[in-house]
Symmetry: C2
Subunit: 463 residues, 2 copies
Amino acid sequence: MYKKVDQRDVDYIGSFIPKERLVSFDEISQDYAHDELGGIEKKPDILVYVLSTEEVSKIMKYAYENNIAVVARGSGTDLVGAAVALQGGIMICTKLMNRIIELDEANLTVTVEPGVLLMELQAYVEERDYFYPPDPGEKSATIGGNISTNAGGMRAVKYGVTRDYVRGLTVVLPDGSIEKLGGKVVKNSSGYDLKDLIIGSEGTLCIITEAILKLIPKPLYSVSMLLPFVSMEKAIETVPDIIKSKASLTAIEYMSLDTIISAEQFLGKKFPDTNYEAYILLTFDGNNMDEIEDEYTKVASLCIEHGAIDGYFVDTDERKKSVWSARGAFLEAIKASTDLMDECDVVVPKSKVADFIKYTHETGKKVGLRIPSFGHAGDGNLHVYLCRDSLPEKEWEQKSEEAFELLYERAREYGGMVSGEHGIGYAKKLYLKKQVGDNQIKIMQGIKKVFDPNDILNPGKVI
Amino acid sequence: MYKKVDQRDVDYIGSFIPKERLVSFDEISQDYAHDELGGIEKKPDILVYVLSTEEVSKIMKYAYENNIAVVARGSGTDLVGAAVALQGGIMICTKLMNRIIELDEANLTVTVEPGVLLMELQAYVEERDYFYPPDPGEKSATIGGNISTNAGGMRAVKYGVTRDYVRGLTVVLPDGSIEKLGGKVVKNSSGYDLKDLIIGSEGTLCIITEAILKLIPKPLYSVSMLLPFVSMEKAIETVPDIIKSKASLTAIEYMSLDTIISAEQFLGKKFPDTNYEAYILLTFDGNNMDEIEDEYTKVASLCIEHGAIDGYFVDTDERKKSVWSARGAFLEAIKASTDLMDECDVVVPKSKVADFIKYTHETGKKVGLRIPSFGHAGDGNLHVYLCRDSLPEKEWEQKSEEAFELLYERAREYGGMVSGEHGIGYAKKLYLKKQVGDNQIKIMQGIKKVFDPNDILNPGKVI
């Protein structure tokens, strides 16, 4: 179906990409055959480290004319196979397109190339007293990747998700043409919203080569509190009441003891407290310390009423480091605790989080799998991990399939969605279809065809 | 091309819609032939006041099978002909679908039918200490209309636009099928973002029959200040510096003396001050009065440094009424001041607002037209009115076309967009095409075809 890539294709791309940024066939490292989770492996035939929109445009034009499959990739930190070249072909790696092009203080925007890492962007703007609120756990993901999955992160409770901070995009279409969508404008009602269609489309519609992001002034203060509970149920059931109390919170994360202990073992570092079964980590921010104090006092009292044992401020440098490095290591720690794992990134209405977590425990027992989880209690997005541990392959496949079916079905019943922020990629296509139904899948396929009639861009993903 | 509607069609629809909600042919009031601006007139053949998603579905199924054009309409307050039945056919009026279905306090959402008026929704949630931040000037618009144009309003500076508050939609597709997009979830990365594609699509892709909207807790305090300046330039040039100062503002509106005087005459009510050429109206809100005071003190000092003559609090009931009723009447007042007018709803980067307003004055002089304007200095969205006054028709047509060309071209140069919140409808199609170019128009046409292969839904609009 696709043209088989050969040396002539390498030579053509080599006519405008210097050797040190072009790798082909056996020289390509196995690292580029899989993503962070590694559920599926396939190497591209050509790997190009691009430097500009024009280079991407030239490659796409060639791929379009020659019917070669193309996959764009940033840091490869995704978990659903979205950045894997299932059909071989060309992989366009954006990690050298990592310039911060412009900070526009009068329009409160920053313009970046897609290969800028989230942690680089956050550091750059915070040094200048600005704030880019989206805060996914994986700080070494690229902004291009964050946009392509509409990554959410911990601060979505107060600030929303990546989508809410993308004002404009420069993209390369499958035929190589370059388009600008949106801009530095705050409002827009000018035809169909192509920009928001691209956000979250996992590189299947076009390749993002520049983004204009909205910033806000950096809040002056940020306070976090860790609250232990005797049970996960007690902890999570507090959350809807926190929300009903109309408190202003930035983040509400939940952590179970088993996940914390995995992180301690993985990092070789102590967590401040490991005496209780479950913890909630609350963050408050703003420009007025009195107001923040009012808020956390109110919320902490409410938590104590609901069975919280205590409330520790995460205030000393040491404590901040121990709590946040543990939180940052959960995924890696769970991964290290098992031979293989797969993940479920459902999002449910906030009011259903407690019920859903209980259901993951029931499902684990029923199916016979260890299913640890952690996540964003304040926005309903849960990261649930199915661990193979030492199960034989066949049993693992059968058990994990059964567990996924149960979990996604329950999420649907609760009015949830298949993915909150990791996307559909290769791994979750079946569950997306079950969720949204044939009509919506048909519309999505129609849209894909409008952008990419020959299906050369990230084929086999999303739909 | 479309089936000519006849009595049999009326009878069919009459088989499930009672008489009092079904009007046809000559019985349809001329009010349903045009929108608020009245630039184009055409009556539908059948007007149905629907009550449910199922009714809309039945009508669409029939229209699809019989190739009848259909237009959905709320309050008809739009300004670009989006709610006019250019091809006759069926008009589905949603104004009786005006129930507030559910306030969900644990998920901070409100679920509404599309015919709920903005002012009804705002009153409902604010009575319960919640807040729906989008605040377009036209409070009698329906929520369905607000979603269909992605209306922005005055508080976009701090809170964003309608799009940012739509969590889920129930829609009826052109063939009558009913789909649910999004839900009560905060995050979503599950396939292409059809919800955001529908928002702002002006009823050309499907008909919205229910919406789940995000709420926030109502801010405890809100303070507005009116600052007079000796010239529009001095007033507007202050705005980028306000933004650079990292102050937290909710709204920054600008008002010129001529517009204020039009509003005084129109309302028969005095504005607090009419001694200066230009005014800026600032709004601050939040939960801590000290913080708000800090902010407005900082911003007012900055304005005084930039040439503001004074700063009045809009605090007494009388003053609030006089300022906000004037602000609310600008459009009507300008409309009443001239035989005919047309409008330009461009949005430019905030840093370009002063230059653009100056350019509207230059354009007015050059072309020989009166071009008053007002709008959202804090978010770059300007409402610019071309007034015919007593010009002969031919001259008006030629001059207004020339002025539009100049204004939209300048907006493009500034990185702006054709419409910030009023949409494209029938009237601005040419300018959208000039702005986004053939590639994007082709993609939008392709998307339209995916949803509506027979082009029966609001034909002749947007693209």
